[in-house]
Symmetry: C2
Subunit: 420 residues, 2 copies
């Protein structure tokens, strides 16, 4: 049983928190920005110090590798990302990179014997905050292994053409070329050279904290679907149109949204989550009755039978009029539940037990690069408790001890994979 070092971990947390520091407890660190490049240079500095070999691939993904005793053995990789959302926190993504470095530093410092080479990796542009979509590089690198419907949304030429949301004249491809981190396609993560992948990440929810656990043994990424619900009414003057003559698309949308909550809640599945996060209203003028409203609905559950029940409720909206408005329901996208590799999951569970870290099984409601990689390689994830369940915001927090516990679990799970 080996353990990682809380002082060394704390130093990494403090150092990486300065790259993109927004001045009030969090960071903005878009992929390939000057702030992200400072983080990449810090990764190089620390990995060079332990004599890891560093390469990049054609999407600027970075790989730092310590050799094992068998030069021909496949590599075991630990990966996450160092980019953030706007005004994000100091843990989402970067924790998995710091944890991977901490594992290599512990292996080097304690001269831990291992057969396979072990790699710490940075995925480029996981958040997709500046250059959409999210999980861009794993979508490209794993493209040949992904389900067709997903693969076609991550074609490399389309990704390179993705425009900055802040400067529509600049593409991701241009940012990549000028970053200094674009390497060779042959260095990409691939199933011939890599045995398996681990990703350490904050939970981004309240379940571990509520249960008093430090670590989650992740079993799957929830299946989900995303629909657009649209209402078509008639624009008229707010002061001159009698109520009985109106076709108010916003009243229709409000009724349908309340109906969705009532009907979905009747299914009584506490582990089901569904969200309307986006609403658009036209013309959105206070003296005009809206003629068009469009809202999103995002639904996530492990079991496809449960998702089907919700889908029937959602699709049923279009069978009736809402406030005399026509309703249209359109699929934006859907994905099945992605189950992680059972053996790797068992190594994580055993490692947590042996290290005496309080843990539980958990699933991931959020998307991660690991879910794309799992179509290509045996893959799993380890969650670290998130204070108050917050993420994608400045109050993100996991204590140095909790972060180190996560790294310790990953280190010992890697060693089990190495021995298998």
């Amino acid at each position: 049983m080996y353990t990682c070092d809380v002082k060394r971990m704390e130093d990494k947390i403090k150092t990486f928190s300065t790259f993109g520091d927004a001045g009030h407890g969090g960071i903005t660190r878009y992929s390939l920005s000057p702030e992200a490049i400072m983080a990449r240079n810090e990764f190089i500095k620390r990995m060079t110090a332990i004599h890891a070999e560093i390469v990049t691939d054609d999407m600027a993904n970075m790989y730092a590798t310590l050799p094992g005793s068998d030069p021909s053995a496949k590599r075991i990789v630990m990966a996450s990302h160092c980019d953030s959302v706007k005004n994000g926190g100091n843990y989402d993504g970067i924790l998995g990179v710091m944890g991977a470095m901490e594992v290599l530093e512990t292996i080097a410092a304690e001269d831990i014997p291992h057969t396979h080479p072990v790699t710490a990796m940075i995925w480029t542009n996981e958040e997709g905050s500046l250059y959409p979509p999210a999980m861009m590089s794993s979508g490209v690198v794993c493209n040949d292994f992904l389900p067709t419907e997903i693969a076609k949304k991550f074609k490399q030429e389309d990704m390179l053409a993705s425009k900055s949301v802040l400067d529509r004249t600049r593409t991701f491809g241009e940012a990549l070329e000028s970053s200094g981190f674009k390497g060779d396609k042959k260095n990409r993560l691939n199933p011939d050279d890599y045995k398996c992948m681990f990703e350490l990440h904050i939970e981004q929810g309240p379940i571990l904290e509520d249960a008093g656990n430090d670590v989650g043994v992740v079993t799957c990424v929830l299946g989900m679907f995303n629909y657009r619900i649209r209402f078509y009414g008639q624009s008229d003057h707010a002061g001159t149109t009698p109520m009985h003559k109106r076709q108010d698309a916003l009243h229709a949308a409000a009724q349908a949204l309340c109906y969705l909550h009532e009907e979905i809640d009747k299914l009584d599945r506490p582990e089901l989550v569904y969200t309307t996060g986006e609403i658009l209203c036209h013309p959105c003028v206070h003296t005009v009755i809206p003629d068009f409203v469009d809202f999103s609905i995002d639904v996530r559950h492990e079991d496809p039978a449960v998702r089907q029940k919700v889908l029937a409720i959602v699709k049923g909206l279009a069978d009736r009029e809402w406030a005399k408005c026509r309703c249209e329901v359109e699929l934006a996208w859907a994905r099945d539940t992605v189950y992680f590799d059972k053996e790797l999951v068992s190594y994580v569970k055993e490692a947590a037990e042996q290290a005496g870290v309080k843990h539980q099984y958990i699933n991931s409601g959020a998307g991660h690069d690991a879910q794309f990689v799992s179509y290509m390689l045996p893959t799993t994830m380890i969650f670290v408790v998130s204070k108050d369940g917050h993420s994608h915001c400045e109050p993100e927090y996991s204590s140095p001890e909790q972060c180190t516990n996560g790294a310790t679990v990953m280190l010992n799970a890697v060693l089990k994979a190495d021995a298998s």
Copy 2:
């Protein structure tokens, strides 16, 4: 009994519809734009042809006057506006200008005897589409007579500083200076030189059409209030936050909006109108639970006691939580019902009866320059039926006969005022 000329009216409708023609049945004619200046030049051409005297004031309001038999008598003015909203129709505003010209042309052509000078007037920037607010020039010209709360929103220096919604570097004051139509402040509509004002306008609602009438005898502009309703929740990840932990500001807003409809409808006042036209949602991302939603509510009814009952329901929203979100209610603005001059209203009613034009009493749910003028001068309005009740859109339509009937009623009402 005199009647206006349908051929002459039809010619005006066709001609003015070319100024700002958007190519599919309607116009975009922002105030003081090149298109609006074409309309003003056509007004000058037609009014010069009947030897009317034309002046402008310091807000570029235009006045074309035919003398009466008593040079010292106060003027009777007929006024509306020639500017439109974006992609508006061929009747809102310009009908009142064409009707005023038609009255003067009929007086000139038939040499109708009258004591008072009679004036056709164009109000500048009634819509406020390019340079907000709406009713800008009547707000300035009548400022000393308006209730304090309204007057302070229409101070001339603030109006001149109003920025173009399309070009934030350009102000209304600059557009006014360069228009060629800025005249002398002493030419403004005022109670020493003017006896009363009539405004002919399309109804902008379906009431006259449903009743089979051509003309509405307007008695008042409805009192109204406008509130903002705000909900404060907590932003969290759509995939990782259990339903029972959420504070979803959009679910809160949808519930409150449905509650408002249910409670207000219980008052069972069919002549009451209320509208939520605007909704803002933050951060408005489909994978994030909204932490803030803000919507408008616009409520209109003649009777202050009815408005008070609705206000109690609206204010009551803040007394409870909605979907665990705090609710805040804030007044944006309110105005009392403005009653038009009883004598002028009776002239319009008698004129419609004598002309055999099908008519009824009606109130105005929309705001008009006439409502501001009514604080300064005896004022009233005449409505012409709107096909399908549409306005502020390209399908606006009233037939040449209906428009001419409106002008005939105005002509005879003006002659009654002249004789009074």
